[in-house]
């Protein structure tokens, strides 16, 4: 079973990196439109798929797209979940291949820190405005 999955991976990786035309003529990967039998695993796969960007679409996750590449990525996610990989590992694997762009869930890094610093500033600012406004009143 494990070897079969490795083989499938190899085949699919080729198709992932292959030219777009070749993808269109091939039938969709088995798990592109098929759920995993285990409901827990399928739910985990679904949660992960909703946070991965379809690279060929405009602002759609791979869970919302008919694009062949999204189908291939859904297949990848499902078989990796079925093989027991954790969603975080799969995300890391995809980010290594396609870059941060593929993940809708930004992680704190040298390029994304403002996304996390600014909300903290906002909390302080909002608190400051409210405290300032009402304490002055009370006095």
């Amino acid at each position: 079973m494990r070897r079969l999955i490795l083989l499938l991976n190899a085949v699919l990786l080729c198709s992932l990196f292959g030219p777009a035309l070749a993808q269109d003529t091939m039938p969709p990967a088995p798990y592109a439109y098929r759920q995993l039998d285990d409901p827990g695993q399928e739910a985990a796969a679904q949660d992960l798929m909703e946070t991965l960007r379809c690279l060929k679409c405009q602002s759609q996750s791979i869970a919302d797209s008919d694009a062949p590449m999204a189908g291939d990525m859904r297949h990848q996610v499902r078989i990796r979940i079925a093989a027991g990989e954790s969603p975080d590992d799969i995300r890391t694997w995809l980010v290594q291949r396609y870059g941060d762009y593929v993940s809708y869930k930004p992680e704190v890094s040298s390029t994304t820190w403002p996304l996390f610093a600014i909300p903290v500033l906002l909390i302080l600012l909002a608190g400051g405005i409210l405290v300032g406004r009402f304490r002055r009143r009370g006095a």
Partner: protein
Amino acid sequence: MIAELGLAALWLAAALAALQMVAGFMAVRDDGSSELVRLIRPAAIAQGVLVTFSFAMLVWLFAITDLSVKLVVSNSHSMKPLIFKLSGTWGNHEGSMLLWVMVMGLAGALIAAVERRLPERTMNATLAAQGVVSLGFYAFLLLSSNPFERLPTPAPEGMGLNPLLQDIGLAFHPPTLYLGYVGLSVAFSFAVGALLTRQVTPNFARAMRPWVLGAWVMLTVGITAGSYWAYYELGWGGWWFWDPVENASLMPWLAATALLHSASVLASRDALRTWTIMLGVVAFSMSMVGTFLVRSGILTSVHAFAVDPERGSFILVLLGIFIGGALLLFALRASTISEGQRFALASREGALVFNNVMLSAILAIVLLGTLYPLLTEAFDVRVSVGPPYFNPVGAIFTVPMLAVMAVGPLLRWRRDRADRIGREVALFAALVLAALILFSLLAEMAILPLLGLALGIGLAVASLLPLRGRKLSRTPLATWGMVTAHFGIAVALIGMASESAFTEERLAAVAEGGSTTVGPWTIELQGVEPVAGPNWTAIQGRLAASYDGGEVKMLTPQSRNFWAPPQQTTESALVTRWNGQLYAVVGDRAPDGRWQLRLWWKPLVPLIWYGGLLVALGGVLALIGRVISDIRHRRLAARIAQRRADREAMA
């Protein structure tokens, strides 16, 4: 000839906007002594008529599919159904901008014709500001996106409209949003006018309020319709994607919501003067940012924008002039405008200030998450910001806001004691806690849907409490409006949380005659057959669905192929029950002859859009209430003036 008439009318309207601007500013400078003053209102009205005429000419060109006009050729097709020919008028860049200026012209004409509450000098300043904004958009249309441009030789056939847009929902979605954007531009003009003449008074807020309310209703309807369109048209059952285009409409809505509440405080309590002005500027800025995002092409790719930056730069420059100018004016005048009446923390104003701060923070988060990826893309670092960011970060501010929203309307103006509404607060808290405990025991739910459900249930009850102890027939319409809108927020929240927590999905390959299940539904694929429409062909699945073995409902989802331009779309089929929606899509045929079906059972999902419509209905009620009382005041004032005149005549 028709195209030339339209273009000429547009140039004339632009000239009148310039006149309105110059005359308005001169009137403000030398206190209305100039002869030009008398031209301001007629110029605004004539401008509205001319630009409407121009838009009508463009609609006419699309209706007859005049293939010598470039815009018609690139966006229409002679075989398209008439309704989509007409909606194609604004389903493109040039046409939609013309629609924008038309609505703006009509709004300017309307305030010029009916608004008499404000001092004449402030009114002139407002119309002058309106002239500046209009002139900017006329320049944009005439210089960089002329909708009436002719082709050297007429084309044999048009290129058609994107099939995704050939949908009745989407035909009316952009105009509603534009009405909202333009309403906010009027609020902006009022704010600038009031700043210029230092007349930030309750009357200013009363004059501005119907426009903010109207804009807010339109934005609410537009966002709700857009969300439902994405839900049924894209074929995957998603209803909100935190897509930059959606955020472009959400940001003005958030700002307008804050502005609406702030203007209400100013109108009835003469407090929050600077807040109201600032939010007026911010709300229109967000409309401009939204227009820039959608119209500049920057979303497809920052680099595509850099290659052909003409339109995007134009909007950016306009944005800079309008917003920079307004902020500069604000900075110069803010010190001369006092804050207005004071109030305590535990007061209705206090709750409204709290929620305005929260709304502004949510707005900042959405703006940050939308613009940040564009910013890094300019430096060739591509990141994605999606639901896993927006949902939790937004919730930091949304959760306290919802809690305050539940109790705020129960507080009295100016100063109140928190213990006076202790029982109501306890009721709300008990409902939320009970729901939290119940749902976390009964179902395995993620934290955000759980919070959403609990707060939604608490808020649904709490939002009705302001009606308690009131004589319902004598309750003002505006109060009904508030209660309806707040209740609508609760309803939508329950729908969102339920969709996210309880949706069940089934992807299955089914042979004709075979069946499958999703949630409580059993679905049989009775057959698949080809069907044809006016400009498409499709395969259509015939599904017989039964809920819990009950009555059979037929569904006919389609997979459509359009030929001009060639594109495939999925037409989902829905069965709506009181407790949710069944969503069915038919996909491709597998090599073994079975058909791919995608089925979802989404409990309570329609509440999302019913909630949105309730919010809009609340806005409409409040608007009607305000307009009626304004008319009453005017009649009364007219009668008093009449009586005084009579008495003087007698004497």
